[in-house]
């Protein structure tokens, strides 16, 4: 009985291998590729801002400054002070003098892209140790925040 059993096991094993080998008909589980669908979400980040997309003019747009301030209070203030003091992230004083508008806009909207590609952003991550959260800012929101930063840096 025992030898018969072993024989059976051996054959069964070969059999299984064979089945797979000849199995052109073995179907894929074919899960629908629904990955695409996840992109259809009400999140507005992800579009890279180009230099030509932004125009910076004086005098400041006061409506944007006010709008930018409330966005700051809701979404940024927890980590960024308006002074030079670093809290979780760098203080915002003179940020518009250190960085180009396009850098600021992309940092606000596309953190993941910046941390992957921009050496300056990568340096900041090393200093702060916290990935800046994506705060779901639309392009218009980010532009308002930029205007508020300029006002904070004393532009008129």
């Amino acid at each position: 009985m025992k030898s018969k059993f072993l024989f059976g096991v051996a054959l069964a094993f070969i059999g299984t291998t064979l089945f797979i080998a000849c199995g052109e008909g073995v179907k894929d589980a074919k899960p629908i590729d629904v990955q695409e669908l996840t992109k259809n979400q009400p999140e507005t980040h992800g579009t890279q801002i180009k230099e030509s997309d932004i125009s910076v003019t004086n005098p400041l747009n006061t409506e944007w400054v006010t709008g930018g301030k409330s966005i700051y209070e809701l979404k940024c203030q927890s980590c960024h002070r308006l002074t030079e003091e670093k809290l979780v992230g760098p203080g915002w004083k003179n940020v518009t003098k250190r960085r180009q508008p396009v850098w600021i806009m992309n940092m606000a909207m596309n953190v993941d892209m910046m941390l992957e590609t921009d050496p300056e952003a990568q340096k900041l991550l090393e200093q702060c140790m916290v990935r800046m959260p994506n705060q779901n800012l639309a392009k218009e929101d980010a532009r308002k925040v930029l205007e508020f930063m300029r006002s904070n840096d004393g532009e008129k």
Partner: protein, 662 residues
């Protein structure tokens, strides 16, 4: 290799496999065809094809599995508190579990109903019943959260529920236990059952846009036990079919005494007729008490209202609204096929499955082919309504689901198998064993006008040796079978949480395209929200201390709090300022006789804490959020009752913005 040799070789190979299996102990393992693994394999990063919403039975919850992989995706808290998610522990969610009996933190969820449009699953809501303290819950499939719970008055236990009509006009609620009506004197001897105990079925309307439920009307019924139900569809849309048992109306040892009669009933309710009677003012207003709880998605907060009235239609007085179809031996499952023509009733003690014809039922009603009356309701002649019987299909038929090719799949508890039969010819064409003693079964889209087919899933009642043993208490046992070919093929065993009864599966794309990722912080209307650190603060109101706290990677504001005294109740209102998908923060404080909070991005939730001793109490974020998650913490100081330590708070060095507001 020529084909002759190929065949010969395969026969030689196949033989030992068959032979080996026959030598194994019967039942513990069964033939799984070679490609089963490929059929259930969902590669890393890929998605399942179906969501399956599985009732949690005595866990009170609903679980969500991916099919065909059988992977658990989520447990949605519905009728039971869930400390993992703070459900029923946060101040915002506590009202969801309010009832006319007060806070009831548990129930027994048996059946699932996915919302439908034109008889096709639309992926908007899923409903579940509370069997113990009668309730129906609606879960919003954008958020996978319980959005509404309505209590059912004049019910002793909501088993025959929430089965839905084909345009989600109604979910229904039939009482499992007949009882004296809520507004009568219930203090009666139990053996006066036949005179004092009544049954009801409730039609709960569902608002087309908001999904909000409301009890449209109840129908007063004889004092039997309502078991299961299914809506008519297509030609039978406008009718609801209920199974019932205990037509003997026994009140003790039902195991014997409710099985005396050869036949109980399928109760056919013409709800369009009931709507006419309602409109004509034939309903009687009854004074009752029931809770109606709604979760506000903008306020992140539930409110519970006690309602005080229902309209009752009497099945005895209002003719042409309710008919009885005799059905052998304590019918359990009562299922309508995709065309709406056939009503399949499964007497759980029977050895045949009667299939009734809707067309013949209408004829029998028109011709008054009655065999008598039961409690004032006409009883149709069995033979006049019967389309045919599936003969000797197995022992203990329970439930039937349908595929897209004209076949029915019936579960058999006693003989522990699924039997496939042809709905037209009533011929049994296949059977497969289940491990062990199957209860409900589910084909994707199986109860609708448009079954998606492809799989049938067995939800079994007994597990025994199917998985690695875990002591006396075992995981529940489910099996996935392919129904694409003529023969059902076992593909997968997968364990589930306790205890699945009914489940419904739906193609993934119908749900995932609407799945919400974050709560927009701009839309947060919770009155206790701190929308930005500017509003983070601590306020005393008598002996209540309200902490308006924000959380973002990786700190709380404020994170140092003083001025709390013994005898105070502290309310931590946590607003998660994150706006990124999958960035919840948790919150827990030492010694809280409560649970944690789990706060989604953009959401506000509140934990109440009554300090029991003087000292310093740490609090921290419980959901790993960032590289500095371990740093996401704070302290709250508790001083003696008469202490003069003033309220103060802050985060960082000197937080001028936070201190400024008081």
């Amino acid at each position: 290799m020529n084909s002759f040799f190929k065949t010969l070789m395969l026969v030689a190979v196949a033989f030992p496999i068959v032979w080996l299996q026959s030598c194994k102990p019967k039942g513990t393992q069964s033939a799984v065809s070679g490609d089963a693994a490929a059929k259930v394999y969902v590669a890393p990063g890929k998605y399942d094809e179906f969501y399956s919403f599985v009732s949690g039975g005595f866990s009170g919850q609903m679980s969500v599995y991916g099919i065909p992989s059988g992977r658990l995706l989520r447990v949605i808290p519905v009728f039971s508190v869930d400390p993992e998610k703070g459900y029923g522990f946060s101040e915002e969610t506590k009202p969801m579990l309010n009832t006319s009996h007060g806070f009831v933190p548990w129930d027994d969820l048996h059946h699932i109903a996915l919302s439908e449009t034109d008889g096709i699953q639309d992926g908007r809501w899923v409903f579940g019943n509370g069997n113990n303290t009668p309730r129906i819950a609606r879960i919003d499939l954008k958020t996978f959260r319980t959005a509404e719970i309505i209590e059912i008055p004049n019910s002793g236990g909501n088993h025959s529920s929430p089965f839905i009509t084909e345009n989600s006009e109604y979910v229904i609620a039939g009482t499992r236990f007949s009882i004296p009506m809520d507004n009568s004197n219930g203090d009666v001897p139990i053996n006066t059952y036949k005179s004092n105990f009544k049954g009801t079925v409730s039609f709960v309307s569902v608002d087309k846009t908001s999904g909000n439920m409301s009890i449209a009307f109840q129908i007063l019924m004889p004092g039997v036990n309502f078991d299961l139900a299914r809506a008519g569809k297509g030609k039978s849309h406008g009718w609801m079919f209920f199974s019932c048992y205990n037509s003997e109306r026994a009140n003790t040892l039902l195991e014997q005494n409710a099985s005396q009669k050869d036949k109980d009933f399928i109760i056919a309710v013409n709800w369009k007729k009931a709507e006419e009677y309602l409109k004509a003012g034939k309903g009687k207003k009854e004074s009752v008490k029931y809770a109606h709880n709604i979760y506000d998605e903008k306020k992140h907060m539930a409110t519970s209202v006690i309602e005080t009235e229902v309209t009752m239609l009497d099945s005895k007085e209002l003719t042409d609204m309710v008919y009885l179809i005799p059905c052998p031996k304590s019918p359990h499952g009562c299922d309508t096929d995709p065309t709406g023509e056939y009503i399949v009733a499964s007497g759980k003690l029977a050895a045949t499955i009667p299939v009734f014809s809707f067309t013949k039922m209408l004829q029998a009603i028109a011709n008054k082919t009655f065999e008598g009356e039961y409690e004032g309701i006409p009883v149709l002649k069995y033979d006049a309504v019967l389309y045919g019987e599936v003969k000797k299909p197995g022992l203990g038929p329970l439930h039937t689901e349908f595929d897209d090719k004209g076949f029915a799949y019936t579960s058999f508890f006693v003989s522990s198998e699924i039997v496939k039969w042809n709905v037209k010819t009533l011929e049994v064409v296949d059977r497969v064993p289940t491990y062990y003693s199957i209860g409900h079964l589910s084909v994707p889209g199986g109860p609708t006008r448009k079954p998606w087919g492809k799989y049938v899933i067995a939800y079994n009642k007994i597990t025994k040796d199917r998985y690695l043993p875990t002591g006396p208490e075992l995981a529940q046992s489910a099996q996935l079978y392919s129904i694409e070919g003529d023969k059902m093929k076992l593909l997968l065993d997968f364990p589930t949480i306790g205890e699945p009864h009914y489940a419904e599966a739906i193609p993934a794309e119908l749900i995932m395209k609407n799945s919400q990722k974050i709560y927009k912080i701009e839309e947060n209307q919770n009155p206790f929200a701190a929308l930005g650190d500017k509003y983070a603060r601590v306020e005393r109101k008598g002996n209540e201390v309200h902490v308006y706290m924000t959380s973002i990677r990786s700190h709380f504001t404020p994170d140092n709090i003083e001025g709390v005294k013994m005898g105070d109740v502290v309310y931590f209102h946590i607003t998660n300022l994150e706006q990124d998908w999958d960035m919840p923060h948790g919150f827990a404080v030492k010694g809280a006789n409560n649970a944690e909070l789990l706060v989604m991005p953009g959401e506000t939730q509140t934990l109440a804490w009554k300090p029991e001793r003087i000292g310093i109490f740490p609090f921290y974020c419980t959901d790993f959020c960032s590289a500095l998650h371990q740093e996401m913490q704070g302290y709250i100081r508790v001083s003696p009752a008469g202490s003069n330590v003033a309220i103060s708070f802050g985060t960082g060095k000197t937080d001028s913005t936070a201190v400024a507001i008081k």
